[in-house]
Symmetry: C2
Subunit: 252 residues, 2 copies
């Protein structure tokens, strides 16, 4: 079977790593991005060639939206106007209800929501690695059977483990397993820095504190976008955290 041609829109940490991983497995990868990342992706062999979105929609079998969340939503609208009916479209956004809802509204039948659960505190093409997804869950939500099969194939090619889930369950679970920890990492660092004595003594922090604030180095702008998109579930997770922190059994 011919390997599908894949267009990756957005060659940051996730998109760049995906392009790398697929190129290694013999896929033809087209890159859609600004000139800077495109140049790097071409030079490193992560993409076979650069493409404009219009060309990518004609030539690719699968289009992957790997820009930040709100940019992906805008791309989805542009794609919906021009996509061939058999085109498979997927994304890598950490919040799934908004884009799944948008694809339904746009009647984009080839859309499968995706969320590879892999990341790093660093971002951008240079932080990418073809092994980013190895052994990690790649969550899939919605989409017709043919489209899901195509996206599962991509996920598997990167070494990831495809997991099917509804968009609302995904967003609920991620609020607790990913978004709340991110907020808490910032807040822990903030609480330590707010106190002058602790700020002076931050160098004493042990591996426990360092592990718990590592995520605070993640890019804030991207995370604001994610947290904003999932704000109802994140608010619920925060309520649960507050309840857990006020329970006397924890420490009395």
């Amino acid at each position: 079977m011919r390997r599908p041609t894949v267009a990756v829109c957005g060659l940051g940490l996730v998109g760049g790593s995906l392009a790398f991983a697929l190129a290694r497995r013999g896929y033809t990868v087209l890159g859609v991005d600004r000139p800077g990342p495109l140049r790097k992706a071409l030079a490193s062999g992560a993409i076979a060639r650069r493409a404009r979105l219009g060309d990518a929609l004609r030539e690719a079998d699968v289009v992957v939206l790997a820009a930040p969340p709100t940019a992906n939503l805008r791309l989805l609208q542009r794609i919906a106007r021009r996509a061939r009916p058999e085109l498979v479209v997927t994304d890598v956004t950490s919040v799934k209800r908004p884009i799944v809802r948008a694809a339904r509204r746009l009647r984009l039948r080839g859309f499968v929501g995706g969320h590879p659960m892999a990341g790093r505190e660093r971002s951008g093409f240079d932080a990418g690695t073809p092994d980013l997804f190895r052994g990690r869950p790649w969550i899939l939500t919605g989409g017709g059977p043919w489209a899901v099969a195509a996206v599962r194939g991509l996920a598997r090619a990167t070494g990831a483990r495809p997991v099917s889930m509804r968009a609302d369950e995904h967003d609920r679970v991620m609020a607790r397993l990913s978004h709340l920890p991110q907020l808490v990492a910032w807040a822990l660092l903030d609480a330590a820095r707010r106190d002058p004595a602790s700020r002076r003594r931050l160098g004493l922090a042990g591996p426990g504190f360092r592990d718990m604030t590592r995520l605070a180095r993640s890019p804030r702008r991207l995370w604001r976008d994610i947290l904003q998109a999932n704000r109802d579930e994140v608010a619920g997770a925060l309520r649960d955290l507050r309840a857990a922190l006020s329970e006397r059994r924890l420490w009395r």
Copy 2:
């Protein structure tokens, strides 16, 4: 100079590791504990011999209290009644005001508060290792110059980095760098487990969540003791955390 004879009371993770580290450096280490840990410490060469507290007070130059916080306070009282004036006494408790205050009340002039900032989620003698303290800060508080010099020497012998600090500053800083992260690790795990969907999907958690809940495996009883002893500062740190979590700039 003759290496001092050191009695270690309590051969758990910290006491056992300390005995190991000192024995390796040629110190004569006496062990004071129940028969189980004593047998293991003797068999492994961490201690030269077992001793009752009374014998240890006669024979040792330095006594290290390495039992849980409240047990250390009780030991301190027993020691104060019988200590030779030149005996150096130190401890490894994670909260410093109560024991420093008790030593002052008991007029134990040879007492130096100590807190080696090293730990693991596991506890007990079997979890110990002579390298536990290598490169880690070992906080010292209070005590006359001769006693401080002796305890600094012990800390250095384990590879730790002695740091002097007042007991109240220590407790304030630890509330934020150590005790609050511990509470938050439990609360994050709790918040995830409270939600049925997230509990079913805990297996999806990535390295971020795992790092942030690693401390939740620490022994609860010991930690209750620590948090209780430092409850005023921990309450202040919790207030700062709540404030940081409610600030809109974090995620809006």
